[in-house]
């Protein structure tokens, strides 16, 4: 279980492309792993490296210190495509703790929340402002559900249970295991 998430203060990295799909976040050919650790080196692999494995110097992700840039600001419909949880595993291992976009795909959102990677959906004006200053600093406050940068304060929404799990470091599977009596009752009622 990820450590509790309260306030994240960090610099941003901006990828303005819309519809950044999970094949960009981690290409499918790397999914033969049976581990979940150490995938950060594969995050955005084909954006960061050419076919010979040489680093692409024009890719912003190769020009930052990941631990100082934990907020990924990305174009609309981030994380579309497959259900691979390898996508948030790769992003968190790379160093990201939050993704800010105007729209984030459903399965990616669900997977991210389970891995201490906060999906933050904001309005277009807020996004435009934030994306106009790549490398700028921002604060993401999960307690107040506020994104703050410069003089800007934007509210965002996080599903209530997932927010509680992140704030308190609640183990979701452990919570669900606590519902086993109800699950058994349900099974008993519908048994043929």
């Amino acid at each position: 279980m990820a450590e509790p998430f309260k306030i994240l203060n960090s610099r941003t990295v901006v990828l303005t492309d819309e519809n950044i799909d999970t094949d960009q976040i981690i290409p499918a050919r790397f999914l033969t792993t049976t581990e979940r650790e150490g995938l950060g080196r594969l995050a955005f692999h084909d954006w960061r490296y050419d076919s010979e494995g040489r680093a692409n110097g024009t890719c912003v992700l190769n020009r930052i210190a990941p631990c100082a840039h934990r907020i990924l600001v990305a174009g609309r419909n981030f994380g579309c495509g497959s259900s691979r949880e390898h996508a948030p595993w790769a992003l968190t291992d790379f160093g990201f703790r939050a993704v800010v976009s105007t729209e984030i795909a459903d399965i990616f959102t669900s997977n991210a929340l389970k891995n201490g990677l906060l999906p933050v959906v904001v309005d277009q004006a807020t996004w435009d402002e934030l994306a106009s200053k790549p490398g700028g600093t921002a604060a993401i406050d999960l307690e107040s559900c506020e994104l703050r940068f410069g003089n800007h304060v934007a509210k965002f929404k996080v599903e209530a249970f997932a927010r509680r799990c992140l704030l308190d470091g609640v183990d979701t599977l452990g919570w669900l295991l606590g519902r086993l009596p109800q699950i058994e009752t349900y099974e008993g009622l519908r048994a043929p």
Binding site: S83, I107, L176, L177, T185
Partner: protein, 469 residues
């Protein structure tokens, strides 16, 4: 008495699977009837259970298959399977070990039922109307063609289902896509799916469960319905569903894992009641006219860039157009083709192979084009070979492979070389999806087959008319 409120198909399935309803502070606890697993998204979930000393709670409701990392070439002379890497092989072995240890049925290498998870489970009758079906795979919506609520989940959720048979879920919004009219000859389920996605946009279904309805949907066979539901995720939708009807029931009758005899007739009666009630209200409604749809092909790097095959590549989205090496205003038909791939959970079923064979029979794949034809399952392979379709493909100069996901996701070594253009019957044309630098055009099996013969993106209708006209 239960409330007489009119409900949608989705709401009926949702309501009947709630162990606990959702509240402001917590999601609902949703029961899962069928959990499908494969080698790629399950190993870390089994590890999560092992770390807690947990067993799989309902191995009897869990079914495994090998599909993503599996080679589609036969065993080599030394008796070894030609895995792309040792890691791919070890991933397959991991699933074999996990299923054996937990008492889960696995359709492995020696099984006559092995296949792509979304092809083999319906074939066996595992997928049934009114079920909740999940799998660590975004194309799980395929099973919605039977009136099941079926959706893809991440690996953490795979561990939740393995451990509890349940998921924490918020109820989705509802979107009905009604397709009136009749599809023209040479236009099929894939063209319809691409037209729907082009109309709604890649994020057009985010947060919603789609119900596909209308005359054109009713007229589709089960293979066509599965193709349409399969691509719901390309709209960002949580799931896609079609109400079960006599087509569904006839298809399921006699399937080995479906109810048998009198139990089947009783089940069928319940399935007929799943259709959305008259007057059921959807959060959003969209209508399309099937009669205006032509064979479709995508020009960009998102699945919503489908256009009619006799039209031109549009302006805008220059990054995608540059990646595809296409020019605004050029006809999409006529673009040079290097590779044709026919298969996948979208279009790897028997009717897809028949449609491709109809075009290829007695013709030759154009010089320089590599055509790869991969049945969706062992059952599809047997049926195709019994009909002689493999001979048609081989005589045309195409490759006929063993079942698997193959070049759709390009994890197993079946991939498109950098810069090459592939006409593919799969579901995603993202940058690099079929291999680094690969350029993908999504199309129907008939269009893919016609493009293989022509050597460029081609309208299948003249090929079919020459045959039938």
């Amino acid at each position: 008495m239960p409330s007489p409120r009119s409900r949608t198909l989705f709401e009926k399935v949702w309501d009947s699977h709630l162990v606990e309803p959702e509240g402001d502070d917590r999601p609902g606890v949703l029961y899962v009837d069928l959990h499908l697993i494969h080698e790629v998204t399950s190993p870390q979930a089994f590890t999560a259970l092992a770390e807690r000393g947990l067993k799989v709670r309902r191995p009897d409701l869990t079914f495994g298959t090998l599909d993503h990392s599996t080679p589609t070439l036969p065993t080599r002379a030394d008796g070894k399977r030609p895995y792309v890497t040792a890691e791919a092989e070890s991933q397959v072995h991991k699933l074999e070990e996990n299923c054996l240890a937990q008492g889960i049925d696995l359709e492995g290498w020696d099984s006559p039922n092995r296949g792509i998870v979304h092809v083999m489970a319906p074939e066996l009758g595992l997928t049934q109307p009114g079920m909740v079906v999940v799998c660590g795979d975004s194309h799980t919506a395929t099973h919605g063609a039977f009136g099941a609520l079926a959706f893809g989940i991440g690996t953490s959720e795979v561990s939740h289902v393995l451990a509890t048979q349940c998921l924490l879920q918020r109820k989705a919004k509802t979107l009905r896509v009604t397709v009136d009219g009749t599809l023209a000859p040479g236009v099929g389920g894939k063209d319809l799916a691409l037209a729907i996605i082009a109309a709604l946009g890649i994020g057009g279904g985010t947060g919603s469960v789609i119900e596909y309805a209308g005359e054109a949907i009713r007229a589709l066979d089960m293979d066509g319905r599965m193709t349409v539901c399969n691509m719901s995720i390309e709209l960002g939708a949580r799931a896609g569903m079609i109400a079960p009807d006599e087509t569904t029931i006839a298809w399921l009758r006699g399937r080995p894992r479906a109810p048998q005899g009198a139990a089947f007739e009783q089940a069928a009666q319940r399935w007929r009641e799943l259709a959305s009630d008259p007057g059921a209200v959807f959060d959003r409604e969209v209508r399309l006219d099937a009669s205006t749809i032509k064979p479709m092909a995508t020009w960009g790097t998102t699945p919503d860039t489908g256009i009619a095959i006799d039209t031109n590549v549009p302006e805008g989205q220059s990054r995608a157009r540059d990646y595809m090496k296409l020019k605004a205003g050029q006809p999409i038909a006529g673009a040079h083709v290097d590779v044709v791939f026919i298969g996948s959970c979208t279009n790897g079923r028997i009717s897809d192979l028949r449609a491709a064979a109809d075009v290829m029979r007695g013709r030759k794949v154009s010089g320089g084009v590599r055509a790869l034809i991969v049945p969706g399952s062992e059952a599809v392979r047997r049926e195709a070979e019994a009909e002689g379709l493999d001979k048609v493909f081989l005589a045309a100069g195409a490759e006929w492979r063993l079942p698997g996901c193959s070049m759709c996701i390009a994890m197993n070594g079946d991939l498109v070389a950098p810069g090459q253009l592939a006409v593919s019957t799969s579901n995603r044309n993202f940058e690099g999806r079929q291999g680094p630098g690969a350029r993908t055009v999504l199309a129907s099996p008939a269009t893919a087959a016609a493009s293989a013969i022509a050597g460029h993106i081609a309208d299948p209708r003249p090929y079919l008319e020459a045959r039938h006209g």
